[in-house]
Amino acid sequence: MLDNLVLNLRVAYARLWVRVKGGNREPEWLVAEMFIPVLTLSAYVFMYRMLHAPPEFTGFVVIGGTMIAFWVNVLWNMSAQFYWEKETGNLEIYLVAPISRMAILLGMALGGFVNTTLRAVAILAAGILIFQVPFSLSEPVTALLMFFLTIVALYALGMLFASLFLLYGREAWHTANLFQEPVYFLSGSYFPTSSLPFFLQLLASFIPLTFGLDGIRQVVILNKGIADVWLNVLVLVVFIFVLLPLSKVALNYMENLGKKEGRLTLRWQ
């Protein structure tokens, strides 16, 4: 039991190491991943300023742009990663090894988190410096709690998506494409979701990022405290407790289905 835990922790660390090492070896990537999001959020900031929106909207946009970096990482470097692992033959090697597949996913998630945090901090810093965001933070612990719950819920969602990629190739790819922009929109990355119609808000409530972004903005920009964001905290905790076990069940199910149908290591499907 203990041996097994140690083995899987080693695996998670090794996968994290690969991601951090590989992700930062070529500086061109770093520049592109930091510079392009700043451009996007600049467009929104200038638009809000032109429309004379309240100054806190600039803060909303900078926070949204920062958190979007995590969503993109979850979608393409976490969910879709098994697709690439399959195509390169790595998945076969993982599946032949006596390890938990969740350890690989955990390593990917932690590595992705480390890499994206580096980029997110740069985006945040650039946003603050360039646009002079009016931050008003009195409960930093609440802000950190909101941030970490959002991240865990997001990566748990990524783990669930990863199980789809274990079996499906291009179909899963299209699904990921399908999710990218609607989540930008519904989670209110560049505007508060309260301005959306009720049915869209209802739809947005199925996305952990919606509650995370809203909670972080309330604490960091609007100077609110835990008493105001407890519902966001609760919803994110529920997301985590549902998504994590579900991703493990889905991963086992997909692996068995793949072994039955012979599609587990089938390429170019």
Partner: protein
């Protein structure tokens, strides 16, 4: 010590659904002894990789049983995974942006090796397999041969008791292929480190490496014995190699001639020559074939009697060579 380290009983594997079912394995029963290098020899699509995938827990059998090291590959998959490793030819698992050593370290962690042990082992394997100078080179920059050396090193990192080699020398140059074969033979035989199941469609490779060979075609095992014993059975059957100066001609008439046991053909675009390997009931049949080739106005460049090879064993069993079997399977 287990007498049979690997055992399969009536293994069946089908693919596809109701109206379009393909039987990849049709009642395969094999036993591999501990310490043995066992070869599965057959053309592409014969079922070799399917057997490996089942034994390495990547695929479930439709029916039948399979055991590795005494563990069921279906019910005790994780125990099986503890004692095996897999190296597939033509593939290089790993991350191109990482160096060879970094990749090997990563793969060593999948088996829980402490870092110091892993690094020592990586150093030894890169020396033994003669690619130490590339240890700090990014994997993406390696040639095919060195990538395959890295793959073999990866497969040996956990000291597997059972090593599966799926076409390990596919696409390699002659020298690299020879180097890898020698290393595996040393590993299994001289150092007695483990048992090997090798799939190949290179006859010479199976002949050189394997203690025993199973010949597989259309998902069925047709024969299983040592290469020498398999060839010995053909001693009484005359075999001739006939080189004909045409790569366009249809030679299927030979197969239909009286007294012909089997015939394979290899067409070389470079030389414009087709080499026919004909197995006959007696030597008079060769004269009939020469006459028929003359009638067809086909120029015979040479005819030589040859010693039986594993390819001849396959021709004797199936009636045609690998290339023709693959052509038929692809048609």
């Amino acid at each position: 010590m287990l007498e049979n380290f690997v055992e399969t009983r009536d293994l069946v594997r089908t693919f596809g659904k109701k109206n379009d079912v393909v039987k990849a394995l049709d009642g395969v029963s094999i036993s591999i002894r501990e310490g043995e290098i066992f070869g599965l020899l057959g053309p592409n699509g014969a079922g070799k990789t399917t057997i490996i995938k089942i034994l390495t827990t990547l695929l479930l059998p439709t029916s039948g049983e399979a055991y590795v090291g005494g563990f069921s590959v279906v019910k005790e998959a994780n125990k099986v995974r503890n004692i095996i490793n897999l190296v597939s030819g033509g593939e290089t698992p790993g991350y191109g942006i990482l160096t060879v050593s970094e990749n090997l370290w990563f793969f060593s962690q999948l088996y829980g090796l402490p870092s110091s042990v892993a690094k020592e082992k990586i150093k030894r394997l890169t020396v033994d397999l003669d690619f130490k100078k590339y240890a700090t080179t990014r994997m993406a920059k390696l040639s095919t041969g060195f990538k395959q050396r890295m793959s073999l090193a990866r497969g040996l990192l956990n000291d597997p008791k059972m090593l599966f080699l799926d076409e390990p020398t596919l696409g390699l140059d002659v020298l690299t292929a020879k180097r890898l074969r020698t290393y595996v033979i040393d590993w299994a035989k001289r150092e007695k480190k483990g048992t090997v199941l090798l799939t190949t469609h290179y006859m010479a490779e199976a002949d050189e490496m394997c203690d025993r060979v199973a010949i597989i075609n259309n998902g069925k095992i047709l024969a299983c014995d040592s290469p020498t014993a398999l060839k010995e059975n053909l001693k009484a059957t005359p075999i001739a190699k006939i080189d004909v100066s045409s790569i366009q001609a249809d030679f299927s008439f030979i197969q239909k001639m009286r007294g012909v046991v089997g015939c394979s053909e290899t067409r070389s675009i470079q030389t414009g020559v087709t080499s026919l390997k004909v197995m006959a009931q007696n030597e008079k049949v060769f004269s009939d074939i020469m006459s028929k080739l003359n009638e067809e106005k086909l120029k015979v460049l040479s005819i030589n009697e040859t010693e039986p090879t594993l390819e001849d064993v396959y021709i004797r069993l199936v009636g045609k060579g690998f290339e023709q079997a693959e052509e038929k399977a692809n048609a």
